[in-house]
């Protein structure tokens, strides 16, 4: 900006130099004429004869002789010598002519000097014509002044002829172009318009204006294009609104009405139906234009947002579909859960009753007929009784396992030291001697659930080391980053590590009932509880040496 300003300034200066030099030359020439005459004739024609014609007029004048004697002075008297000139009147005449000349000269030179610099397009020729016209007018005045001393009437006449032709030409051009002048666009404006047009095309955005006095709408070319309509068609407001989709028409009509009444602008995403019948999403923006308090026009933007909107709707729809699917699945899951709940409820009721009956009657039989039954009958009755007991335990464990999924958990800081020692005190007091508990850190979890895990692991350790001569159980822990790893080690029978993956599955047992009794649910329950905690459970063992069960929990 600054640089271009400086350039403009230097340009102006150069112009003035040019003007100044031109003026000096012309005024110099003029002085030379005048002084020359002074020398010859003195001021006001002294020494020349008053109003005499120095030579006779040639009889015929051809084009060639006219131009070859363009500067002749012989046929006319100098103006000073003709008529009664007072000095004041004469100099007034001369002075006025010269000042008119200077002004015209400067004006025309300024016009001509700038005409190439301004980007005027076709208007340049009009300015050039104007410049020539003014320059010629000025020249006629200069020659008029010169004629006081040098009667160059032929030159004057020729100059006036030229001036006349150029004046008429200028007049004709003016008459022709003046009505178009208001619509004239300079190349700069045209360039800006092209630029805007380009932007409009890229963004597919157009503008419009509604004149409330005529109810007529003016659209930019992009608005026509969006409507797939021939450019330049006259549009009334009602018709413009008719192009909106029935879903959108009410909305836009209301917005327009509100804007006209209350001056409230709008910015809406609506649908139109183009002339070719295509449905298209547009963004319509409108605002009032006021003259004082009165709203005289509405104007705004109109953008084709079809592609974006369709993509957006697609995303929204797929989102909705997803939500619906999730809801459906949740419903199914909930129902499955409810069924499971009903199932386990009825299991807890109905499966126990017959077991109780089997157990009850077999014991009643034994009690009532002790003396009459032989040994094998009593043995079988005992088997019936103990099997029904076992099945009862199995049902209880299974129920506990299924209940786990529905259990509300509350995670808190658990003092494992206190918790495990308490457990041993309450449930394993008989084995207290063989259990060694290290100092244990705190862990994060559900107290009740973790109790179940510790119970299971400790009772397993006791069970599987019960056949050792000196059973030994050790409970220890290490901290590892944000986690605590609890280890419960025994010197019991251990197991084959090849089957380690079966260890935590429901009903999977690595020992027969005759070796060690069990339902095959305890470790599965532990695994489920620990995974609910986001932790890990695993085991290491060597047959005949012992096992270690590890539980990894958050601190």
């Amino acid at each position: 900006m600054v640089i271009s300003n400086i350039r403009t300034c230097t340009g102006m200066k150069n112009q003035f130099h040019f003007l100044f030099v031109g003026l000096i030359i012309i005024l110099g020439l003029f002085s030379w004429f005048v002084l020359n005459d002074f020398q010859n004739q003195g001021f006001i024609g002294e020494g020349i004869e008053m109003c005499t014609i120095p030579a006779s007029t040639p009889e015929s004048l051809t084009v060639v002789s006219y131009f070859s004697t363009l500067f002749t002075t012989s046929n006319w008297p100098a103006r000073w010598t003709c008529g009664e000139w007072s000095e004041t009147e004469g100099w007034m005449y001369i002075g006025s002519d010269i000042s008119i000349f200077i002004s015209y000269f400067v004006i025309s030179l300024m016009l001509l000097g700038n005409v190439f610099k301004l980007k005027l397009g076709k208007a340049m020729w009009i300015v050039l014509l104007f410049g020539a016209f003014i320059l010629l007018c000025g020249l006629t005045h200069l020659i008029d002044a010169v004629i006081f001393w040098e009667p160059v009437y032929r030159l004057s006449g020729f100059t006036k002829l030229l001036t006349g032709v150029v004046s008429i030409g200028t007049t004709v051009v003016l008459v022709y172009i003046l009505p178009m002048a208001p619509k004239y666009k300079s190349p700069e404006i045209i360039e800006k318009e092209v630029h805007l047009e380009r932007i409009s095309k890229m963004a597919r955005i157009g503008n419009w204006e509604l004149d409330l006095s005529t109810n007529r709408v003016t659209w930019s070319s992009m608005v026509y294009e969006i409507h797939e309509m021939a450019q330049g068609m006259q549009i009334e407001l009602d018709r413009a609104l008719d192009y909106y989709h029935p879903d959108s028409r009410g909305i836009i009509s209301e917005a327009v009405e509100k804007c006209i009444k209350e001056g409230q602008p709008w910015d809406l995403e609506l649908r139109i139906i183009t002339v070719l019948g295509n449905k298209r999403w547009v963004r319509a923006i409108g605002a009032p234009i006021q003259n004082g308090d009165k709203i005289i026009k509405l104007a705004g933007l109109f953008q084709d947002i079809d592609e974006r909107k369709r993509a957006q709707i697609k995303v929204q729809n797929s989102e909705k579909e997803l939500i619906k699917k999730v809801e459906e699945r949740t419903k199914l899951l909930k129902r499955a859960n409810e069924e499971l709940e009903a199932f386990s409820y009825s299991v807890s009721h109905d499966l126990r009753a017959p077991l109780r009956a089997i157990n009850g009657y077999s014991e009643a039989l034994m009690e009532d007929n002790k003396g009459e039954f032989n040994e094998s009958a009593l043995k079988y009755l005992n088997r019936i009784s103990s099997n029904s007991q076992k099945m009862g335990a199995l049902i209880d464990d299974l129920l506990e396992f299924s209940r786990m999924n529905r259990k509300q958990t509350s995670f808190v800081e658990v003092d494992m030291n206190q918790q495990i020692n308490q457990l041993i005190q309450n449930y394993f007091i008989g084995s207290k001697e063989i259990i060694e508990v290290d100092e244990l850190p705190k862990a994060y979890g559900d107290r009740e659930l973790l109790d179940q895990v510790f119970m299971n692991l400790i009772s397993n350790a006791i069970k599987y080391s019960s056949k050792e001569e000196e059973p030994k159980i050790r409970i220890s822990a290490v901290e590892e980053g944000n986690h605590v790893i609890l280890a419960i080690n025994d010197n019991g029978v251990g197991f084959n590590m090849n089957y380690a993956d079966k260890l935590f599955q429901v009903f999977q047992r690595l020992h027969s009932d005759s070796e060690f009794e069990g339902t095959g649910i305890g470790l599965a329950l532990c695994e489920r509880i620990i995974s609910m905690h986001g932790g890990e459970i695993w085991a290491e063992s060597e047959e005949g040496v012992g096992s270690t069960f590890y539980v990894k929990l958050k601190k």
Partner: protein, 153 residues
């Protein structure tokens, strides 16, 4: 109350399962203490008996039981509903009600205690345990626990 009076006491058992009823009665009759056990096979019959309706309309009011053993899962009217009706009836609400059920569900426990059950016992599967629990709880409510007398102050 002396031991001799015990034979005059009545316990009612509302239980649909024949086997459970049989075993319960076997457990109670064993010490030869309580002989008057009335077995009612569903919730409706139980309520009819207690409220002296239907075929029990002629039952004498003086023969009101001193303990009600109630199962929860009953045909027609379930145990929870029977409990609700007992505890909302002025002449019955002082009779101790012991719910004996297979259900360990928290939902059932909560409901029963909210309605004012006196005891809630989960029936053990092993008969010897079952017999012991039934005997102990009945004797406790009948003998140990003190109830307000039927006469006005």
């Amino acid at each position: 109350m002396t031991m001799a009076d015990l034979s005059a006491l009545q316990i009612i058992l509302i239980e649909d399962n024949e086997d459970d009823a049989e075993l319960t009665m076997r457990a109670l009759k064993e010490p030869n203490l309580i002989n008057d056990i009335v077995w009612l096979k569903d919730g409706e019959e139980g309520l009819h008996y207690l409220l002296r309706e239907g075929k029990y309309a002629d039952r004498e009011i003086s023969s009101n039981p001193c303990l009600i053993l109630l199962d929860l899962k009953l045909p027609k009217i379930d145990g929870v509903e029977v409990l609700r009706r007992i505890k909302s009836n002025k002449s019955l609400l002082k009779i101790p009600v012991v719910v004996m059920t297979s259900s360990r569900e928290n939902r059932d426990l909560n409901q029963c205690y909210e309605l004012g059950v006196n005891s809630y016992v989960v029936k053990p599967i092993i008969f010897s345990d079952f017999a012991r629990v039934t005997k102990e709880i009945s004797l406790y409510w009948v003998l140990v626990n003190q109830l307000p007398s039927k006469e006005p102050f």
